[in-house]
């Protein structure tokens, strides 16, 4: 019995400490994210994630959660009309040297109500890119948090 309690406690701890907060993602899926990642080496890997922050009237971001971009197509709902801050992060690690690194591409984003967007996320051979387009194919300019006050 005690062994089972111990196992259940460990499982609970692991589940609770399993990493970052998941983005709730309850709304209409207005962001279609296509992701391609390749580290270019058999001895290293790269993982892409999207961090979502709400941005208030004082331009203060509040972290809402993370979405793993671990499939070729991931759909996410970002509240329309509200200013959000999207952080695309590429985390790379090397199996041999034990080195790790991460790099981010960030942008403020306010989806229009009823609109949908296509996002191309890529990290290939140490070159990364994030391109957001509306369904008419117009590219949405990526803007850092500093643009919030302009």
């Amino acid at each position: 019995m005690r062994a089972w309690v111990f196992v259940l406690c460990c499982a609970g701890l692991l589940a609770g400490c399993g990493g970052a907060i998941r983005y709730p993602d309850g709304g209409e899926k207005n962001l279609r994210i296509r992701t391609v990642t390749s580290s270019g080496s058999a001895f290293s890997s790269v993982k892409a994630v999207l961090g979502v922050h709400a941005v208030d009237a004082q331009c203060k971001p509040t972290y809402e959660g993370v979405v793993d971009l671990d499939r070729p197509l991931v759909e996410v709902g970002i509240p329309p009309g509200r200013l959000s801050y999207l952080v695309f992060e590429f985390a790379s690690s090397s199996f041999l040297g034990g080195s790790r690194g991460s790099i981010k591409r960030e942008t403020l984003f306010r989806p229009r109500a009823g609109a949908a967007y296509d996002v191309q996320v890529s990290y290939q051979d140490d070159i990364y890119d994030v391109v957001i387009r509306d369904r008419a194919g117009r590219e949405v300019e990526l803007q850092g948090l500093g643009a919030c006050r302009r």
Partner: protein, 171 residues
């Protein structure tokens, strides 16, 4: 980033200065760096007009290169943290557009030369207008440990890959 490349990069910067004085301007860098140890010069042409190449550099260089990178290296006996700031400057012109990339080690590296305020020159790229909507690129920069940076510059110049180089992967 690999600490070996940090050492190489610093050595290249030192070599570019020829152990006398580090280049304080892009023009000094153009004169001194091509023949220096661990530095190289590349020249190639692209089938794009200068204004398009310049526009790509203007858009991509600041957003991809202006950043501070924190790297750590650990051995059995040491632990080192290096904070490095990169600063890209694009100088447009009718006949030539320039990209200057400077690097400043904020912590973890001892400076033995007087550096420009934004750091030593790491790379200088000149795009020259040619006839028939072609542009010649002449770039000077480190010969080792900066492959991703060179590939990004080639992609921006040719317009076929506008991605950003992962600056954590360079020396």
């Amino acid at each position: 980033m690999n600490s070996r490349f940090a050492v190489l990069g610093s050595a290249a910067a030192l070599a570019a200065g020829c152990a006398t004085q580090m280049p304080q301007t892009a023009e000094e860098f153009r004169k001194v760096a091509p023949g220096a140890f661990l530095m190289k010069q590349e020249s190639f042409e692209v089938s794009r007009p200068l204004r398009d190449v310049a526009e790509t550099l203007r858009r991509r260089a600041p957003e991809c290169l202006n950043m501070t990178v924190r790297t750590t290296s650990r051995t059995a006996t040491s632990y080192q943290v290096i904070n490095t700031a990169y600063k890209a400057t694009v100088v447009p012109g009718a006949e030539r557009a320039e990209l200057h990339l400077q690097r400043k080690h904020l912590t973890g590296v001892i400076r033995v030369h007087q550096e420009p305020e934004d750091g030593h020159y790491l790379m200088v790229v000149d795009a020259h207008r040619l006839e028939r909507n072609r542009t010649r690129i002449q770039a000077i920069g480190p010969s080792r440990g900066h492959d991703v940076l060179w590939r990004a510059i080639r992609g921006w110049a040719a317009g076929d890959n506008l991605g950003c180089p992962d600056m954590t992967k360079i020396g």
